[in-house]
Symmetry: C2
């Protein structure tokens, strides 16, 4: 970017940092706990007010759940950048583990402490600050349009966001998006995540008898535990290959660009060993092979339950057994398709009696490595943080990237105030003031460049 | 048996039935709940008193748990018959489901209702009645010696009985035993059980990480649930064959006599279908093949536990998983040997990280079909009940038959007051007065014949 606006922007943000931290604190002082239905409409109103006072055209769009606040501001180009954020927060409990009360924000040791200080109110206000700074540097006009989409149900799994986007494609027309969160790794290297795996969550249940039976009859009466175990064993071999016919049909291999990015990532093995105490990894993987595995879809058992689980023993044959599964899906797998294939597989393997219940799903989504927004985000990240950006071609987890990327046909990237140890979702959640400033600088630079991509 | 003593015995018992029911009621009025440590020594004293007043030489033998009451009475022959019984009862809860209070015995509709009325105080007093009747018919002398062994921990799994017998072989010298319970099936046919399977109970546990991990890392972090599942699948194939090397080495096939007995048993398939609502049985067995299966040892899963088991989903990889197993063992399998082979098998299959913890064990035990005590018990049962005796060569469950049969070198059979619907262990436990009378008559006839076997 030109040096002159950059210098102006950085000075603008440095001078007003305390003011933006105050603005974040006021937003955090309003509890907005979606899981507990607390303070959502009040918080949506504050968010709408912050957009309105900046001249955004603001709407509260109702959904089957909490309303979505949408704010649009025209820019100097036809191109528009979408910021996805959320105004709800995780429950603050356990309260006794907080050093200061979760909804009484306070700055100490260079950081603002409060529930939502990072996730996602700090992220949201850092973006407002970036918008203010860029406008100031350009005589009041943005070089591109900006569209805020701020929902109120992210912390309960965004159950209505995909449908909301589907039903409001015109309202949401834009050319790229920055996801609700981002930042650096623990060593201060800026990270840009280019996608997320999808997920299919199902519960398998089998009932072989009306009631549990005495285990002295195990030579004749059918065990639900063994039946479930056989069904699960049919899904995946010890080679980790998922045995559902056609499961891999839609899998796209990583592109040469993806492979190059994976090779450039750090070796996370020491971190994984230290954090989890794992003696060995899946299929004996080690070193950078652990990074590459994200392009493998998985079949994970979240939980198993059957029969007697208390102390000692109970001589029963369980009548019922259940397993919760999640399949992490890579581009271009489709959870609807995988669910249908799972049912077909169970029937074909003789497990018609094993019920498969749909719990939930998200679709995979990934921006192409060569999308100009990726290069812009990476380059400006390096400018701000002074270290090369780490590009993560695909995140192992799942989030509704797809809900925007697919229907709107846009690239989605990440940038933000995080540093990997913000205690997000935990007591003493905080955002460091310097991270806030850097995130605002980074977002401002993306806004500067986005109009010309 | 001679008609004359039989007639005298039956008359003696009919005349005094009400008195013996009163005696049972007094014994039941004393709570003696081993699981709750209530009233055991008080009840042991009453039992000792009942034996003492009949001239038995009585001892309270201490164990690491509740004392065993042992009473011996000499007879006219050198041969002695052992009666194994217990003075403890199951907890009476849930109290609200009892028609009358569990420890306030009452006779209604031809049955005595109380906790312990059947299991095992009614059984014990019916044997005392038989002893009294036989002595009366023989001028005060028994035709064989009688040895009562009445323990106080049967309802908590008889944890000390095997050691007690091992350590008191001289005290317990005898030539045969009648087990603590018996009787007829629901159609009034006398049943004689000639043995019990053994059991080995173990818990398999595996821990792959220190803490649960996010399931977005399932491509690299090891799942305890899948690991346990693989270990379990290695134990038994879908053909139900247990894959532990040498597991079947000590298995004795059923003898021709056993096979003949199994063929003579009723077809229990309709009963099993009605009781359990099972659509199909293990290996598709049906009809009398269900009876024959008792000679197959089993590997049963009592319970499975891992990860998240609440409502909805939780995107975790479980760090820990556990399964409780029981192996039902047939003659001459040995739980110590099976446990060692299980450990060897897990190690050999690459599951050295799967811990196997010993929960408990019992050994299999079976009296030979041609033992004279079997014929005596069957013949006298038919005399009393008017229907041919059903001989069960091996019961599917486990009980400490072996604890007496093996160290003492004696045959063990069953006879008693049950009719299959006594609500044993449940509210409204009862013994029918007519069943009590028939059991006393049956036991008396066994005592009459045992001296001459």
């Amino acid at each position: 970017m030109n040096t002159e606006p950059a210098r102006e922007i950085d000075a603008f943000l440095s001078e007003r940092l305390d003011g933006y931290i105050d603005e974040t604190a006021r937003l955090c002082a309003q509890p907005s706990v979606s899981a507990q239905g607390i303070g959502l409409s009040e918080c949506a109103d504050i968010v709408a007010g912050l957009l309105d006072q900046r001249g955004f055209a603001v709407q509260h769009v109702p959904t089957a759940g909490a309303p979505v606040v949408v704010g649009r501001l025209q820019g100097g180009s036809q191109r528009t950048l979408l910021f996805y954020n959320h105004y709800d927060v995780q429950p603050p409990e356990p309260l006794e583990l907080w050093t200061s009360p979760p909804f009484e924000p306070v700055v100490r040791d260079g950081a603002l402490y409060a529930r939502g200080a990072k996730d996602d109110k700090g992220e949201f206000v850092a973006r407002l600050a970036a918008v203010d700074a860029v406008r100031s540097a350009h005589g009041g006009t943005l070089p591109c349009g900006v569209l805020f989409v701020v929902e109120g149900e992210e912390e309960i799994g965004s159950p209505h966001i995909a449908r909301f986007v589907q039903e409001h494609k015109d309202l949401l027309a834009c050319h790229g998006a920055v996801w609700e969160e981002g930042g650096t790794d623990a060593e201060g290297r800026p990270q840009v995540s280019l996608g997320r795996r999808g997920i299919l969550e199902v519960e398998l249940t089998v009932e072989t008898m009306r009631v549990d039976a005495h285990s002295g009859q195990a030579d004749v009466l059918p065990s639900a535990a063994w039946r479930l175990l056989r069904a699960l064993a049919s899904l995946k071999g010890p080679d980790e290959r998922i045995r559902i016919p056609g499961f891999y049909d839609a899998v796209l291999p990583p592109s040469p660009g993806d492979v190059a990015m994976l090779e450039a990532l750090p070796d996370y093995e020491p971190h994984l060993r230290a954090t989890y105490g794992a003696r060995e990894f899946v299929l004996g993987r080690s070193g950078r092979a652990l990074n590459h595995a994200v392009f493998e879809p998985t079949c994970n058992i979240q939980g198993l339950t059957s029969g007697y689980q208390g102390p000692g023993a109970k001589t029963i044959i369980p009548a019922r057994a259940a397993a919760k599964l999640d399949f992490r899906l890579v581009p271009d797998q489709d959870p609807d398709d995988v669910f249908a294939r799972l049912r077909y597989h169970l029937d074909a393997e003789g497990f018609a009696d094993v019920e498969a219940a749909w719990i939930g799903a998200m679709w995979p989504s990934k921006v192409p490595v060569d999308d100009p927004l990726v290069a812009l985000t990476a380059r400006t990240g390096e400018e701000v943080y002074g270290l090369p950006s780490l590009l993560l071609p695909l995140g192992g987890g799942s989030s509704p990237f797809y809900a925007f990327a697919r229907p709107l046909g846009i690239p989605v990237v990440t940038a933000g105030v995080g540093y990997g140890r913000n205690r997000t979702h935990a007591p003493d959640e905080h955002v460091r003031l310097n991270d806030f400033l850097n995130a605002a600088r980074h977002i401002a630079r993306i806004l500067e460049g986005f109009g010309d991509l």
